[in-house]
Every structure is written in C-alpha cells, then in structure tokens.
C-alpha cells in the first residue's frame, strides 16, 4: 500500500489554484524529490499531507487514512520555516519531542548533537541560523517514522551544512519509510533520490525514477528540469 496517496487533490486559495487535480502515489522505501519552481505547489502539498490545510476537492491519504493526529504519529515533518522554541535549550527541545512522539530516538539525537558540538545547555536563541537548521533536522530525522516530509531542508544553508544535512538524511532514515524532499536546488539532492516529481503550476509535469531519466534521456535530472521549465516559458 502506498504511504502517501493523492486522488484528484485540489487546493484553491480564493481564486488562486495552488494544486489542480493531483493524482499521486508514493511507496515506502523510496526517497522522492518534489521539485518545482517557486509557487508550483510543493509546500501546499506537504501542508495538506500534514493536515495543516484542508483540500478544496479530492483527497490525500497517509497509509490509507486522511491526515489526523493518528497519521501525524507516523509522519515526521520538517517545516519550511524553523519551528523551534526560542527560550528552550537543546535538551528541553529533546524532552519536548520525546513527550510528543513515541518513535523519537533520543540517543540518536544526542549523538548527532554531540558530533556537531552543539551543547545540550545552549538555548535556541543562542544558536546561529545554520545551527538551528541542523538542530531542527536532527529532531525530525531522529524519529523512526514511516513518512518523512522535508520542506526545503537545504534552502539557505552553506555548502558544508548542506552536505551534513544530506548525509544525515541518508544515514538516519528508516529504510522501510518514504522520504519526500521538496526543493528547487536539484543538483544538490539529485544523487540521493530514487524518484522525482516535477510540479508545475499545481500540476504534475513528470513522475519518474532518476535512473530512468538518466538511462532514457542521457541527462541529469537537473538538466531535464532546466529543459522542461524552459519550454513552459516559451
């Protein structure tokens, strides 16, 4: 059974159509890139999967069920904006996650924080932007979830931090789970993806495996993306 499924999923913001009858299914064990230019509907799709938005039409299912507190227990979500609590120390953030999520693996999180030299006594307020991004990702990847939804995990960080983040994703995700990474920085994530979904103006322009793209077209996903989205402008 797919871990994430959309049927005729549509989301309008007033007169603006953000997602237009999306049909999609994502199987466990895959790392999927949700790729598209700004405003193509990536964040809307991820928010719908988390139940933070309600569909205008159609449905989205997590493990066969509509998003609800029960599905949130099996979905680990990295929001596009940092959602740490300013006054908390790293240790208090860990306590907070441990209280909320039964699948949180505290030891793994502590190990990663120690590797990065982030003291447990440091407050979020004292952390640099890069450290906050890493802290947030560590919390999200330390859960043993069935679906990871990572909204722009590498936006706005330096190349070394980017490497660390991608490394953390590959070495920590549960292999029976699916990982969805939304980004427009394709060249950076391409090597870690199984499949890609191109979103364009609320529609799926392509859903394919990375190997298939390289085999049949002899080009990288990054090159194909540039080609596809260039055509649309003409």
């Amino acid at each position: 059974m797919p871990i994430l499924e959309c049927r005729g999923l549509t989301k309008n913001y007033g007169p603006v159509c953000a997602l237009d009858h999306i049909d999609l299914s994502i199987e466990p064990g895959r790392i999927v890139g949700l790729l598209g230019p700004n405003g193509s509907g990536k964040t809307t799709l991820i928010k719908l999967a988390n139940g933070l938005l309600q569909p205008t039409q159609g449905e989205i299912l997590i493990g066969g069920e509509a998003p609800a507190p029960k599905t949130r227990a099996i979905v680990s979500y990295l929001p596009e904006r940092i959602a740490l609590i300013d006054w908390m120390t790293a240790r208090q953030q860990l306590d907070f996650f441990q209280d909320f999520y039964a699948d949180f693996q505290r030891e793994a999180a502590e190990h990663m924080l120690a590797q990065l030299g982030i003291p447990l006594t440091q407050t979020v307020k004292q952390m640099s932007k890069g450290t906050r991004e890493k802290m947030q990702l560590i919390l999200v990847m330390s859960r043993k979830s069935q679906l990871y939804l990572l909204d722009e995990p590498i936006g706005g960080v330096d190349p070394a931090t980017r490497d660390y983040i991608l490394h953390t994703i590959i070495s920590n995700y549960n292999p029976e789970a699916a990982v969805v990474i939304s980004t427009h920085l394709i060249a950076d994530v391409e090597n870690i993806l199984d499949d890609v979904i191109f979103l364009n103006r609320g529609k799926i322009a392509l859903h394919s495996s990375v190997d298939e793209i390289r085999e049949t077209r002899g080009m990288s996903v990054d090159a194909l993306f540039r080609e596809v989205f260039k055509c649309w402008e003409n």
Binding site: I170, N191, L193, D211, G218, S220, D222, A223
Partner: protein, 122 residues
C-alpha cells in the same frame, strides 16, 4: 565528501564500474569485507537503494557474495577477479584506440606512440 558522478549515466552503473575497479586494483582484497550499503551510501553521498542495486549487479556477476547476517564480501576466486580486471583493461584499450583514431592515428601509429611513451618513462 560526496563522490563525483557523470550526468549522462545512471549512478548505479557508475558505481558498479568504480567498485569493479577497486576490486581489480586490490583496494578490496579477495575475500575482503565490503562496506555496508548504508556506509557506502553515506560516503558516496548517494541513495542506499542505488548502492543496493550496484551490489546486486556485482553479485550476479560473481564478483562479490553475501554472507548472511554479516555482509558483502569480495569473491575469493582469483580467476574471477583477473577476468574482471582483464575486461576493464580491454575496455581501456578499446577507448584508447577509438580516441587515437578520432585524432587521425592508425592502429600502428598509436601503438608506436604507446611504445615511445613507455620508453619516455622511468
């Protein structure tokens, strides 16, 4: 940290080639243990399923084998490794000849230049 891969070929096939070369060159010795899927994926900066697929291909090829519950190992067969090495060498020679031909050198001239370059060394 991540390895470099070409854009125009699937990553798993490039990984197969790299691992073959590493085995042929003795970087992974006969009977030696290979890194785990996860280690190699993290090291190369690629998807674990890609590593799995490359291992699968090498295993079908008889160059590596799985010891249940303990991991992947390089074959102990020296003949199998020599064979892989020879295949890789043949493909290098083939590419050399083709490149030289593209530059306008006939086989004989190409070989002569190879000979001279060896004399130029050491």
């Amino acid at each position: 940290m991540a390895w470099d891969f070409r854009d125009d070929l699937p990553i798993y096939s490039q990984l197969v080639d790299r691992l073959k070369r590493a085995v042929a060159a003795g970087k992974y010795p006969p009977g030696g243990k290979l890194p785990s899927v996860r280690e190699l994926a993290a090291d190369a900066g690629i998807n674990p399923n890609t590593v799995q697929r490359a291992f699968g291909e090498l295993e079908r090829d008889g160059l590596i084998f799985t010891q249940r519950a303990s991991g992947k190992y390089v074959t102990e067969s020296a003949e199998r490794i020599d064979e892989a090495k020879k295949q890789l060498a043949e493909s290098e020679v083939h590419h050399f000849i083709i490149s030289m031909r593209a530059l306008g050198y006939e086989r004989g001239q190409a070989l002569q230049m190879l000979e001279e370059s060896r004399e130029g060394e050491s």
